[in-house]
């Protein structure tokens, strides 16, 4: 049984091909540019190619993420909170994850999940760029450090520079002042990661953080982000190579469940 989960996010579109609800046999990730529906088709074809499959061999497609309603090939669309919880439960199945932190391009969320990966409580911020990946993207632009080098550059920072502004735009002025005062760019960047981690900490504390945190989303594959989180949180922080695909995996698994249910009813 082949199910596909497509996560159409504000920053990137992710696709996962799942075999029999367990094995990831194909994947693709591309930055979201232009129309979300065209982007979804492109990534869908890409992950089919990666899995060496034809679309006719696919049993079910589930979409999630902010552009989930715009994907024409979908059979169902599922909220990204739901899919992130399920996906995190799957990728961290060796542990017993209860708290999931998902930092994306335009939002950050803290989820508390049950033993099935179902979200029982959540806190999120999607109205302010200060705690999201967009903040890093802007820093990359005006500090002229390319995104692919941003994490390594930050990790070289020895004295992270505290950013006092809570607004991503007001921070820019502060950062530019630091540059003109000669603060090393490495220290500034690590400071930016720490400030995002601080905001994530606030979300987690509102969920009464009492356990280790399991990461999901686009920003958390950056080692600097993990390090910053470890420096501000009192509990352990876990990451996984598939963390960026958590919502897509969750969608593929929920798609499988739905398909099974449909077949059971049909029989």
């Amino acid at each position: 049984m082949i199910t596909i989960g497509m996560d159409i996010g504000t920053g990137s579109t992710k696709g996962i091909v799942l075999e029999d609800n367990q094995k990831i046999i194909g994947r693709a990730l591309m930055p979201t540019k232009g129309s979300p529906s065209a982007m979804a088709t492109k990534v869908l074809n890409e992950c089919l190619k990666n899995a060496k499959l034809d679309i006719n061999e696919v049993d079910y497609v589930a979409s999630t993420g902010y552009g989930r309603y715009m994907m024409e090939e979908r059979k169902i669309q599922i909220s990204d909170l739901t899919t992130t919880g399920r996906g995190a439960k799957f990728i961290y199945s060796d542990y017993n994850p209860e708290l999931v932190l998902d930092i994306g391009t335009q939002s950050s969320r803290a989820l508390r999940i049950d033993e099935r990966g179902k979200v029982i409580q959540f806190k999120m911020n999607e109205r302010c760029a200060a705690g999201s990946g967009r903040f890093i993207e802007r820093c990359s632009k005006y500090l002229t450090v390319p995104m692919e080098k941003i994490s390594d550059t930050a990790l070289a920072g020895e004295n992270p520079q505290r950013i006092s502004s809570v607004c991503a735009v007001l921070s820019e002025t502060e950062i530019i002042n630091h540059v003109s005062l000669g603060t090393p760019v490495e220290d500034i960047l690590m400071g930016v990661f720490v400030s995002i981690a601080d905001r994530a900490g606030t979300l987690l504390r509102r969920l009464k953080m009492d356990d280790d945190v399991y990461l999901a989303g686009g920003l958390v594959h950056m080692p600097a982000m993990k390090k910053a989180l470890e420096s501000v949180l009192d509990h352990g922080v876990h990451s996984h190579p598939d963390a960026h695909y958590a919502a897509a995996i969750g969608a593929a698994r929920l798609g499988y469940q739905r398909l099974m249910k449909q077949r059971a009813i049909a029989q």
Binding site: R127, C128, F135, S165, C167, A168, V169, L170, S180
Partner: protein
Amino acid sequence: MADKVYVAGVDVGSTTAKAVILDSDRNIVGKSLQDVSPRVAEDAETAFVKACQDAGIDREQVALITGTGYGRLKVRFGSLIVTEISCHAKGSQFIYPNTRLTLDIGGQDTKAIRLGPNGEIIDFSMNDKCSAGTGRFLDVCADALGHSVADLGPMSERSKRPTKITSTCTVFAETEVSNQLARGRKPEDIVNGLHHSIAERSISLMRRVGIEDEITFTGGVSRNTGLVRALEEKLGRKINVSPLSQWFGAIGGAIFALEELEKGNDPSFTQLEVSS
């Protein structure tokens, strides 16, 4: 003429420094505007010197100087330090005596100040944590549209239907502006939509202190005619906007200085922090 008494107010904001010279009859005889760099103390000094030049007087002729605004502590040559909340309120009531509510939108913050009939501050509410709805918000969005902020007022006057802007955050609004442009929306409708969104935020700030009869709009952003129009539409009434509105904080500061002199106080040698 040589013994004529002058006072000054220097308002150092996040984006610009403003200075005003007042004579003892409360006439505004000189003013200046200076962009703020990381060397704030120098910019404050420059603003003051330029205002003296504009008034045609020597700096020695200024008996008392008030520093106000976000960078007020950098007005090291001043003798009086007053918060910008007090100064904007004072300046508003000096120009518009019936002002009961001052809305001040600057480069990086927004304040709503409610006043009593004698200029006393009854309540105030401010947003200085987030750039949404401030001058900075307009700067960033104007950039995304490829225009300067000065264009925004006249542009929005050509709009018949504002484009709804849903993002609060400046960063997300910038993305939204680009997306709306890509969708083919007219730039003037987008600008109009931005003005409506700022007007809504400002009004909710004003509601927190209570919307009163006569409203005076101060600060650099008050020069934006499109925003004034959006505010008036949503409030259903006219608001006071002066060509000098950017200098109201400095004017208020100068009035405080004059009042100190009139009371017979000469705090020239000690810095006084006045809170009202």
